[in-house]
Structures are given as C-alpha cells and as structure tokens.
Point group: C2
Chain length 348, copies 2
Amino acid sequence: MVRVGDEVSNKQVIFRDYVIGSPKESDMYLTTGTIKLKVPEGSNAVLVKNLYLSCDPLMQFFMRKAEGPNGYLYYTPGSAIFGYGVAKVLDSGHPEFKAGDLVWGITGWEEYSLITKTTDTLIKIQHTDVPLSYYTGILGMPGMTSYAGFYEVGTPKKGEYVFVSAASGAVGQLIGQIAKLEGCYVVGSAGSKEKVDLLKNQLGFDEAFNYKEEQDLNTALKRYFPEGIDVYFEHVGGKMLDAVLLNMRHHGRIAVCGMISQYNLDEPEGIKNLLHIGFKWIQMKGYTHRNYYHLNPKFLDLVLPYIREKKMVYVEDIVEGLESGPAALVGLFSGRNFGKQVVVVARE
Amino acid sequence: MVRVGDEVSNKQVIFRDYVIGSPKESDMYLTTGTIKLKVPEGSNAVLVKNLYLSCDPLMQFFMRKAEGPNGYLYYTPGSAIFGYGVAKVLDSGHPEFKAGDLVWGITGWEEYSLITKTTDTLIKIQHTDVPLSYYTGILGMPGMTSYAGFYEVGTPKKGEYVFVSAASGAVGQLIGQIAKLEGCYVVGSAGSKEKVDLLKNQLGFDEAFNYKEEQDLNTALKRYFPEGIDVYFEHVGGKMLDAVLLNMRHHGRIAVCGMISQYNLDEPEGIKNLLHIGFKWIQMKGYTHRNYYHLNPKFLDLVLPYIREKKMVYVEDIVEGLESGPAALVGLFSGRNFGKQVVVVARE
C-alpha cells in the first residue's frame, strides 16, 4: 500500500503528437514514470489515485491543434492525455477535498495524477452505494449532459415525439430512458443489430433502427415518425441531421450535444435542409454540461433512485488496465464500443 | 365614387401556374373582372378596397407546389395572387370591422377583395398620422417580425455585437435601428453601394459592407467583428450563414427569419460549419411574426414615437399601379428594390 509522500512508479498513456484526421492507437504510447504522492507545499492541488477513466468523443479535439471547441485544453505532446475519470484523493491542498474522498472530474490517463485545476471540474462523490464507474457515465459528465439536454434544452413534453441518435451511447441511453419516464414516444438510432436490440429490449425505447442498414434516412424517419419529430437529440450530425430537418414538426427543438460523424472528416458534410428552421420555427441549440454544474444535485435526486430501484438500465463496456486505454478510446470513433466505454485503472 | 352593393370592375393580378425555380414576371398576368361590393348575407367576411400591397420574399413559396412552409396557402392558378396589404373596409360581416376602417393583413392583388379568413390576419389600423403604406412594412408584418426577432429571439443586450444580413430590407432596416437604440454595435450587409451607404449614412449602422464585393465572407466578418458576433439576424442563408457560424461567439444567437439566397436554387447550398453550434453553444431559432400577434400593441408603443419624432428612418421603394406589381415582386428576388417594396393600388 502506498502512503502520502512516497515516490512511486506511475504508468501513463502519453500523447505522441498532434493528430490530423482520425486518431489512431499509435498516437498514444505507454510509459512508466515516477510521481511523489504529495501535493506541493502551499498549492491547492489535489493528488489522486485514478480508478476509472472515461472515453469521450470530445477527447479527439484535445488531440488536434486545428479548430475545435474554444476554451478547451489541448494535449501536450510527451505528456499524459486527460479526460473525465473517477479517482480517490490521496492528498489535498484544496479546502473542499481531503484524503479518502472519492471524486469525479478531469484527471490524467495514468495511475496517479496531480490535479491542479480544481475550480469546477472536480466533484465530490457523495453516494457510493452504486457502482463507482457510473460516475464516468450515467452519474457523471454524460449523465449531467443528458439531464441538461432533456430538461433545459430539448424540453420534450409528455406525448411528444422524440428521436435520439447514437442512442446506445453514454448520453443517448439516459436521454431515451428519461424521455420514456416522462411519457414521450422515443425512437433511437444506432450502428449495429446488438445496439438496436439493447435499445428496444432493455432500455425501453418504443422503436430503434440501425442507420447503417437504411438506404434512405428520410424514409426511415418517416416510418417511425409519420407525424414528425418534436425533439431531436443530436449526437451524430451529417446525413442524419439533414434527414431529421425534413421531418421536424413546427416548433420542434434540436438539442445539439455533438456531431460525432463529422469530427474526423477532412471537411464536414454540407447540410442542405436548414431552410426548415425558418419554415417550421425550429430551435437548434448547442449545449454542454459545463453550463449546468449547478443542477448536479437535482440531477442526482432524479437519477439515483431510478438506478437503485433498477428502473434504469445502464450498459458499460469496460476494459481492464491503462494498456487497454488507447484501443478503447480509438474504438469509440468507429462505434466499436457497446455502451459507455470505461477503462479500469484500479478498483480502489 | 363606388357604393356598397355596386357591381364594379376589378383589376387583378392573376397567377398563371405553379412555378419551378425562380418566379418570373410572366408567371402573372393582369385581367379585369367584376366584383359586387357587398359581403354575402350571413358571412363574417370583410370587403375591402386595396390601397397598398406589400412585396414579400415569402410570396414565392405561394407560387410553388413543392416543399414550402407548412400551413401556408398556395396561389390558385387562374385566381388573383395575395399577400400583405393595407386596405379600407367597404362592407363587413365581421363584428370587429366596419365600413371606413383601415386594416392591414392578407388581401388580394386586385382593386377590391372579399377577405373571408379574418381570424388573425387582419389588424385594424388605429394610428393614421403616419404614412399608411408603413403598415405594409415598418408598422406591419415586417415590423412585427423585426420586433419579435429582436426582443423574443435574438435578444441582443447593450454592448453586444450584432450582425444583420439583407440589412436594407424591410426587416433588416428596423432590426438594425432597434439594435442601435438599444446600445449594440451593429453591422449590416447588403448587395449594392447605394444600400451600404443607406445603412451607414441614414440608418446609423456602425458599419456596413457589400457582400458582392467580398472575395471571402469569413475575412469580411473578421474585419468588422474581430471579437466575434453575439447575435446574427439571418435573412440570406448559404455562404453568409457558413461564414457567420465561424465567427459566432460562445452563447451566440442566430434568429432565422429567412434565407432568401436559397429559395430559388434547385438544391440549397450545403452548410458546413454547423459543428460550431455544438462547440460554442449557439442557439439558432426560426421564427415568424405569426406567433407574436399578441405583441402588436407593445410593438407599436415602441416604434410609433420613434417614427413620429423621426428618430427612425424608413425607406420605401414605391411603384404605382397594379400593372407595376409583377415586376416589382419579381425584382425583390434579385435585390432590385431599394428599401421596402410597395405597390400602390389606390391612395384612399
């Protein structure tokens, strides 16, 4: 067992260099350094042991120097990559955290991390009667994203027609289930038969389809939404968005969380049906969980009981060990994962 | 002078047949029929003498059978076209209107019209100390559109950076002037030197540019908005929208009134920069004055005093006589008009 003040070996996933196009496994490599398990004197940093790491689509932006979301950090070549994760505090210079606390937030892809930016990215985990890995997903960033997307952006009402793309992903799973609990008609799209089965048979979606098997997405949407779509939760962009625009109803809302199909193209596909925004008074709105941290308690009040009572299903795709991290992360961009992709660094 | 009950001749602009692509003058023709100046017994229709007719971009949708805004009517081949106008009531079966009233709303392109759909499209004109033709523009549908677009959709705050395309048009003129009165920095684009001069020298825009003279719209926008755009009032679509998306700031808003550059293309241009909606949490929202009729009194309270005190400039492009109507209407789609395009049928 390690102790505060020890200098210990620290396995890390290192970023090789900035990426053009789609990230590959070889853009990262493993190395083992050392770290002193102590927060520097006078600093308000937090030193953690990493437990679960989250693979999220936005991480590919950190790998590029080109245009991406402003205000995000980029990876530094030669340093460990970072992302959301669950960790245990070993030492803290921050008044809100103490040794032994469990936290979720931005941390390094390594065994131990010194987290220096703790302003609003580190959240103390209060409820540990649910799997800790859930705080990389349904109870963490993707969960908050789903909650804000549903209640603050898309705002579907009982009886409305809701469409969720990438519906078996970390955000889609929860949005679909909240929509069902709120009395909406919910259809999801995903990229394999297994994912479609998951949506229909375990997550309670009214319908689901494999977009890869559809000749024409407009026809597919008309099949499931003969009266049109009230709210679309956008995670993929491109041709799906274009088809959705044709099928939106008056006063429809499109909550834009991401557009994963477009991130790695040299040039994004052109969207042709934006005229419908004007024709049908559609609202299309981008959002991030980062603007909704204040809703975290309300979000947990809603979701925790459902998880405890097993009224919500949550599917994780868990790989073991930092060594498995780069492949798991890269697999996300081709949809290889089945459910939320998590990397276990340590279980406690 | 005509009297109620007379049967009189009625000059009309008749719709020839549904149009594919851009409407031409020859898609309409003039004829003279007759009309009995009396509302049918038991009907709640209103019989009016038309004074001023408004040329509006949305009228081209009424000429096509293909996809357009749902819920709109289409023109009937062989019948008079219709649109917004100012008229005088000659006879009325409707409790809210009586002979002598001045009204604005949807009426026919003809000397006299029997208006049968009076639900929310006909508004009684209460203030006649301003030019009546203004109720086709700054005090009518485009005015209400500007008001709703500014205060309910785009919601620019004092000091924010505002961009208006088609800024010398009926809606753009007013939005730009409201934005200046509210303390925003306002830049407009238009399609000729004369229009740019109007914006800068008469309407008080901080800057204006001729989009036809710009090699690259992104570069042009960066010149006028080095810190980015907070609110964009969208009237043109296409390449301008794509360039604007690159230049929007975080939490920016795009109020979509129309996309006139796209209406007559066989296929709309593809918009490539929608990823920025997700990156920068942009809201893009389509709207119509039709959802904001209840704000009409507030709107008039704001705008009438400015017009009376000449604190607002309003430019009209007026042609005389129904005969001039088809050319004036078609000219709108190539930007031939200078200011709000109005057709005078009669002055009282």
